[in-house]
Amino acid sequence: MTNALVFDIAHLLAGGLVLVSMMMLYQDRLYALLNVFALHSLVLTLSVAWQAFVQDAPHLYVTAAIALVFKAIVIPVALHRMIRQLGIHREIETVVGIGLTMIVGISLVALAMVVMLRVTPEADPLAREDLAFALSVLLLGLLIMVTRRNAVSQIVGFMSLENGLVLAATGAKGMPLVVEISVAFSVLIAFIVIGVFLFRIRERFDTVDVRALDDFKGRRRK
């Protein structure tokens, strides 16, 4: 296989991940957001599997399998059920308008590229573009968390941020499997903890809008 094609496919998949992150910013329904998140994880799986094939590193296939099973299937299904049980509004309330969010998102992608291309001039082109895309996905995940009021969509932002981390980890050669598995499981545990918290927030405040927490912080608990 030619070198150019290897690079092109890696570029396509990693660029696709950034694109799906932008799509997540654009969504205004919770279920649609979850479906896009599942797509995000699926693209990540493909990207990781391609890296495993390119680097001839069988342990990366395990990472890909973890991403596929947990992030593309288990977590979206669990979140779907959670939304149904919480019985919350399915529309996402954003802090600022979608247009402004998209502009900020684009500038974050630009920022990630400027930073990553400056600091890695000697690295292998494949690793360079992977790191630049991973940083963009990470920053976009943070942006989703910041611009959404609903706690469920904040979880989705957190998970997509973690997808960016996995992309960065697989782009760099020689990441041990133990580290990846522990990252994957810590995220899963974080997800469970956040899930429990969600139900507690809902029980106490009758909403999963995190503004309620801000109001609460002003007063002392009795």
């Binding site: 496919i9 396509l12 660029g15 694109l19 502009i103 992608v109 590229m113 082109p125």
Partner: protein, 318 residues
């Protein structure tokens, strides 16, 4: 000899776009009707409509200025010239070396400017609403279109359509995510520019939603025929643009034999038919959006164009 053949190809191109444009509109309507399980009018109905309109008298408002009478011909001429610049079945057209992709956008922009002026000329409220909406859509669609052109120009190293088409058929292109994004963004812009669902409904005269139809409400007779033909030409132009940049297969190159031109023509008609079928399929699948959602739709196209340009900087040039 080369000059004569180039002239001939250009002449065939100019005639072909005008002749095929109503057929494309008719085919889209027919496919759409069949998808909705209706019989639908014949695919040749737009030709009959235009001929009928050409024979009818023009009814002019008393306060219509000269602009109102001139605008349809201007709009038709500008759209026709820009459609003649897009390589449809052969590259290396006579005119295409004098104007590139940016010139095509400028021509379409001026055609839209005159249409908006004509909409406001008589002073009815519908025309005004239509013009203001059209200009709102244009202010968002044109930057998106220009960003898509920048992406393509950065990839192909030229804004010349023949060069872009030649580059796209060469193995240098490879798989580029930017091109995929540009294709999606260009499709979104094309839908908005041609006043199709979900931005505008070409088949309705409901005053709350119409954009393009509101502007041309005062036109009748041969003026209306010109405007309808220009609208069909614009649809053909955008489908040809997408076909020439993203599926430039079987385009005849200058100096090729007559059979190459015939294959090119046949391939072009197939591409148009596929484009019409996809458009009809898409239109039956989506609902029209509120006018105030349109900026979001086009804003997404703009952002996609920007993203496509950005992603180019981390592509193979590293």
């Amino acid at each position: 000899m080369v000059l004569i053949s180039a002239l001939l190809v250009q002449a065939v191109q100019m005639v072909a776009v005008v002749l095929l444009a109503p057929l494309l509109t008719g085919l889209t309507r027919k496919v759409k009707a069949r998808l909705l399980r209706r019989q639908g009018p014949s695919v040749f109905q737009p030709y009959r409509d235009i001929l009928r309109l050409l024979r009818k008298d023009v009814v002019l408002a008393e306060n219509a200025s000269w602009l109102f009478r001139v605008a349809p011909y201007l709009i038709f001429a500008m759209t026709w010239v820009s459609a003649a610049l897009v390589p449809t079945f052969a590259t290396g057209l006579m005119f295409s070396w004098s104007a590139d992709l940016i010139a095509i956008i400028a021509l379409l922009g001026s055609a839209r400017f005159f249409l908006a002026l004509a909409g406001m000329d008589v002073g009815t409220s519908f025309g005004g609403i239509g013009s203001s909406r059209e200009v709102m859509i244009a202010t968002l669609a044109e930057p998106a279109m220009l960003l898509i052109i920048f992406t393509l120009a950065l990839v192909a190293g030229s804004t010349q359509l023949s060069t872009i088409a030649a580059f796209m058929t060469s193995p240098q292109v490879g798989l580029r995510v930017s091109l995929g994004i540009a294709l999606i963004a260009l499709t979104m812009v094309a839908i908005a520019e041609n006043a199709r669902i979900p931005v505008d409904n070409p088949a309705t005269h409901l005053e709350l939603t119409m954009v393009h139809e509101a502007m041309v409400l005062e036109y009748s007779g041969r003026h209306l025929a010109m405007i309808e033909l220009a609208a069909s030409l614009k649809l053909l132009l955008y489908i040809s643009l997408i076909a020439c940049m993203f599926v430039p297969w079987k385009l005849a190159t200058p100096g090729a034999g007559p059979d190459a031109y015939l294959t090119g023509m046949f391939a072009y008609i197939v591409k148009l038919a596929v484009g019409a079928a996809f458009l009809a399929l898409f239109e039956t699948q989506t609902a029209k959006m509120r006018v105030f959602r349109v900026p979001e739709f086009l804003g997404a196209a703009l952002m996609l164009g920007l993203l496509a340009t950005l992603l180019l900087f981390v592509s193979r040039s590293l």
